[in-house]
């Protein structure tokens, strides 16, 4: 394993920022530390960087214990949330800073900076100052600067937080492609699910200083292991107190009184449909609709429950007040600690349903 944290703890006053954090990261992977604010994700990043030091536990980079090694000598590149570009230096001098520290020759520096400017698509802007650049351009300079010292690990703290929504999507894509091309082991912190899921190879979900789950986005999305992850990922309707037994195809699972149902798990059919008759279907009433660009989110009332369903507008028209058939294909049942994926019993035996 390339980066390894082993039982790391860190306390700030009364606030337990890291609570027995252990995980391992493979070389060359792009990892997202995802969690709500205050969940300790930034602290983990800063401890790997050496900007913060753990109270106890071990951190390894490339098999080497780095506990006692200062930030200067850890061989990391760090991209700060606020970019932290030196405002009084040109773009060129910002990128060259680390190489000057290393006493590289002028020619080496000049070549490397030009190469990096090309990599980040800012050729010819070396003489500008940071305040003459747009937010996205500054972000790219910060990225180039972090790469200039050829670090073993690239660490990024909420790299897109300060950027406009429209530019952010482009930058995410660009960052993913560039890191893939360079093959550098990278970890970034984010509180934005969409961002984490779209960019990262693997997610590390944090909550209250603990690591909740580690895995690929698809894995975490499909099989949340803890109550927190089941509720945090996606936008779910939460049912309490074994209410999910009311849904056709689901039976009580002991010690898992709550359930999270995502809109994508709910399929809607018109009342007059002839193609599919299934005992999984329930008849509900649409009490609200919300257009969401490519689909409509329906709120369906059924037996004192309100279930949300994601409905493709191409399929058929539904309006508020309509009655529809709906079925729930799966849900996550959980107690305060663990989560279990329940597949609809009726649909399980249906060979037409296919799950990855």
């Amino acid at each position: 394993m390339y980066i390894k944290l082993d039982n790391v703890n860190k306390t700030f006053g009364n606030y337990k920022a890291s609570d027995n954090v252990s995980f391992e990261i493979e070389k060359g992977k792009l990892i997202a530390l995802l969690g709500p604010s205050g969940s300790g994700k930034t602290t983990i990043l800063r401890m790997i960087a050496g900007l913060e030091h753990q109270d106890d536990g071990d951190i390894y980079i490339d098999g080497k214990l780095v506990n006692g090694i200062s930030v200067q000598d850890r061989g990391i590149g760090f991209v700060f949330q606020s970019y932290a570009l030196f405002p009084y230096l040109t773009v060129f001098d910002n990128i060259a800073y680390g190489m000057k520290v290393r006493k590289n020759s002028k020619e080496e520096i000049s070549n490397k900076v030009d190469e990096l400017l090309k990599l980040v698509g800012l050729e010819g802007l070396g003489k500008r100052y940071p305040d003459q650049l747009s937010g996205g351009q500054r972000q790219r300079v910060a990225f180039a600067r972090a790469l200039a010292t050829e670090p073993q690990v690239l660490l990024l703290d909420e790299p897109f937080a300060a950027i406009d929504a429209k530019v952010r999507k482009e930058l995410r894509r660009w960052l993913k492609d560039t890191i893939d091309k360079l093959g550098i082991t990278s970890i970034f912190v984010t509180h934005d699910q969409d961002e984490a899921v779209e960019v990262a190879d693997e997610l590390i979900i944090t909550n209250q200083g603990k690591v909740e789950q580690i895995g690929t986005p698809v894995d975490i999305y499909r099989n949340p292991k803890t109550a927190f992850v089941a509720q945090f990922i996606g936008e779910s309707v939460i049912l309490e107190n074994y209410e999910y037994e009311k849904l056709n195809g689901f039976t009580k699972r002991d010690n898992a009184p709550k359930a999270a149902i995502r809109p994508e798990f709910v399929q809607v059919l018109p009342l007059d449909n002839n193609t599919e008759k299934s005992t999984a279907n329930m008849k509900g009433k649409v009490v609200d609709t919300a257009f969401r660009g490519s689909n409509v989110e329906l709120t369906i009332a059924y037996d004192n429950l309100e279930i949300k369903a994601s409905h493709q507008i191409e399929d058929f028209t539904v309006k508020k007040g309509d009655e529809v058939y709906f079925k729930v294909t799966r849900l996550y049942a959980f107690d305060d600690d663990n989560a279990y994926t329940l597949i609809n019993d009726i649909l399980k035996d249906n060979p037409e349903m296919y799950y990855i």
Partner: protein, 255 residues
């Protein structure tokens, strides 16, 4: 229509009206008093002419400004490094700051008798006084500048391998420049206040001396000329300093 409006606007904004109005009020006011009490603008201009042609005014300006520049430069040379150290090193700050936070409330002019006693009535005591007047605003602002450095810049430098020492010179000092500059401006204005008072109390030339002694000769017009000169010098010195700051320190955030 548009054009005449813009001319009126430009005249309004130029401040011409203000000065015409001021001269008018002054002129009318002067009608009711003697020249010894309130000389009218023409008499004052005449008095100023005398001062200029005799060379007295010029000598006084040169002497006063010479003292200010000497004391101010020495003050900056001392206060900026000290401020940087106090701001950066905790141990130094513990020892130095209580001292600083007390003595910055002692007006420089309070030290004049002591300095006359210690350094004599010559130039040294005046330069020492200005030095004292300058160092406190400069130190206080420099310390504030060092402490307000964006800490992520320091972390960025360190993450690229820069030592504490290198970080201090390449990040902390450049970041403190705008505050240091503000301190220097405040110090200059304090220095001018201080030299005027000092020259009134113990000097044989300089603008303060001019203003103070003119009263003994009943030359109220010279007092006016002296006050006007003081204002002009302060105004121009500040303008020049800001111009230079903007030109050479723009990149460090001096605006």
């Amino acid at each position: 229509m548009e054009k005449s409006n813009s001319i009126i606007n430009r005249i309004l904004k130029s401040g011409l009206i203000t000065w015409v109005l001021l001269l008018f009020i002054w002129g009318v006011g002067a009608l009711f008093y003697t020249d010894d009490f309130l000389p009218n603008p023409l008499v004052t201009l005449d008095g100023a002419k005398t001062l200029i042609t005799s060379g007295t005014l010029w000598t006084d300006i040169v002497v006063s400004m010479g003292r200010v520049l000497k004391g101010w430069s020495l003050g900056l040379l001392f206060a900026i490094p000290v401020g940087l150290c106090v701001g950066n090193f905790k141990v130094i700050s513990y020892v130095f700051e209580p001292f600083l936070n007390f003595f910055r409330f002692v007006p420089a002019i309070g030290f004049i008798t002591l300095f006359l006693l210690w350094f004599g009535v010559g130039e040294t005591s005046k330069v020492a006084l200005i030095f004292y007047a300058v160092i406190f605003p400069v130190m206080v602002n420099t310390i504030a500048g060092v402490r307000s450095v964006d800490y992520s810049l320091v972390e960025a430098a360190e993450s690229m391998g820069a030592s504490k020492r290198r970080t201090f010179f390449t990040v902390v000092v450049p970041s403190a420049v705008p505050n240091i500059f503000t301190g220097a401006r405040l110090g200059l204005s304090g220095a001018i206040i201080c030299i005027v008072a000092a020259e009134m109390l113990a000097a044989s030339e300089g603008l303060g001396y001019l203003i103070y002694t003119s009263r003994l000769y009943y030359r109220t017009d010279w007092i006016f000329a002296g006050i006007f000169t003081l204002g002009l010098i302060g105004f121009l010195a500040d303008k020049l300093l800001r111009f230079l700051g903007k030109k050479f320190l723009y990149r460090f955030g001096v605006r």
